[in-house]
Symmetry: C3
Subunit: 113 residues, 3 copies
Amino acid sequence: MKKVEAIIRPEKFQDLRERLASIGFDGLTVTEVAGTGKQKGKVGVYRSTEFEVTLLSKLKVELVVSEERVDDIVGHIIDACKTNQIGDGKIFIHPIEQVIRIRTGESGTKAIY
Amino acid sequence: MKKVEAIIRPEKFQDLRERLASIGFDGLTVTEVAGTGKQKGKVGVYRSTEFEVTLLSKLKVELVVSEERVDDIVGHIIDACKTNQIGDGKIFIHPIEQVIRIRTGESGTKAIY
Amino acid sequence: MKKVEAIIRPEKFQDLRERLASIGFDGLTVTEVAGTGKQKGKVGVYRSTEFEVTLLSKLKVELVVSEERVDDIVGHIIDACKTNQIGDGKIFIHPIEQVIRIRTGESGTKAIY
Ligand SMILES: Nc1ncnc2c1ncn2[C@@H]1O[C@H](COP(=O)(O)OP(=O)(O)OP(=O)(O)O)[C@@H](O)[C@H]1O
Ligand SMILES: Nc1ncnc2c1ncn2[C@@H]1O[C@H](COP(=O)(O)OP(=O)(O)OP(=O)(O)O)[C@@H](O)[C@H]1O
Ligand SMILES: Nc1ncnc2c1ncn2[C@@H]1O[C@H](COP(=O)(O)OP(=O)(O)OP(=O)(O)O)[C@@H](O)[C@H]1O
Ligand SMILES: [Mg+2]
Ligand SMILES: [Mg+2]
Ligand SMILES: [Mg+2]
């Protein structure tokens, strides 16, 4: 089991949501976050320690999936969220050791979906 | 060391909090999130790409614990958060490689609690 | 690749941000969270099940970095966020299996920065 975590443009979430639903995938958790990625050294150069780097609003979307679905999910995230402009976001893949459904006590792969 | 991450109904948090405090456990981090789990394919069937699937408000509760406490903590989360209705939530177990207490610089198990 | 996750006092974020920028590091994600750490058993003792333990506002700062930068980043977080008062926060180190830049499709170390 893996966790696919995508930091995306908020305006791309609805597209991603529909695309995942169309392949029957609807287990996900969303968090409002703020962030910065690569800024190419241009920010704050003239204002030294006084600079305030603006953080951009992003959405963190987390999907716990079985290992064999990771590549497919990553492809759908890229297709839904890519605009070719800087700031399109990042995907991080994490190991997950166990999943438990609270209602039933089920664990492992059958608790994911 | 492991991270026990529970996505729960917000109204169950106070019960969980008290239950954990009663066993002397009080290191935790809470985040407001939104999510969906299994929807049994019923959502959006008639409205294809126009549907908007409502996300439900949940709380993410994260507890970093030593390995031997994981099963106990999971049991307490289930006892506190289970209503037997769909949407009771999920528990994810993650590996953690290191913990450091910023104030003291301590690391490892003695930095957890 | 590792994820360095720091739960810090919100008022220390700007210092940390500038310190990281000064070493050329600007990929990070910030989330508003609430939490408690060790409370030394003093909370709620007289009010049993009625107590409400106050959660404190914290910021979660996540930085995905290559393995060889972890110790350096941890040192900078401690230097920026330590006040020597209880509640200075915690740092958790997590394994990361893969990173992908959505715009370019790049993966691995060259997708981190
Ligand atoms: N190394 C990192 N660690 C943690 N979060 C990151 C990291 N890099 C990026 N992020 C998160 O991802 C968001 C989007 O990053 P962004 O798309 O700008 O990445 P980038 O590497 O600068 O790519 P691009 O060149 O396309 O802008 C950031 O706002 C931040 O929340
Ligand atoms: N695979 C998943 N990946 C990420 N987050 C998930 C996943 N499944 C569930 N969640 C999170 O857990 C929350 C609760 O899920 P939920 O209890 O509905 O799970 P479920 O598998 O549908 O179980 P039930 O049949 O009891 O409803 C969701 O709102 C979402 O935030
Ligand atoms: N074991 C833990 N699991 C998850 N989150 C934790 C844990 N311990 C602390 N935290 C998070 O870190 C924040 C800061 O913790 P805090 O600095 O009070 O840790 P502490 O161990 O009590 O250290 P100190 O003695 O310096 O207060 C908490 O508000 C909580 O969000
Ligand atoms: Mg960028
Ligand atoms: Mg459900
Ligand atoms: Mg404390």
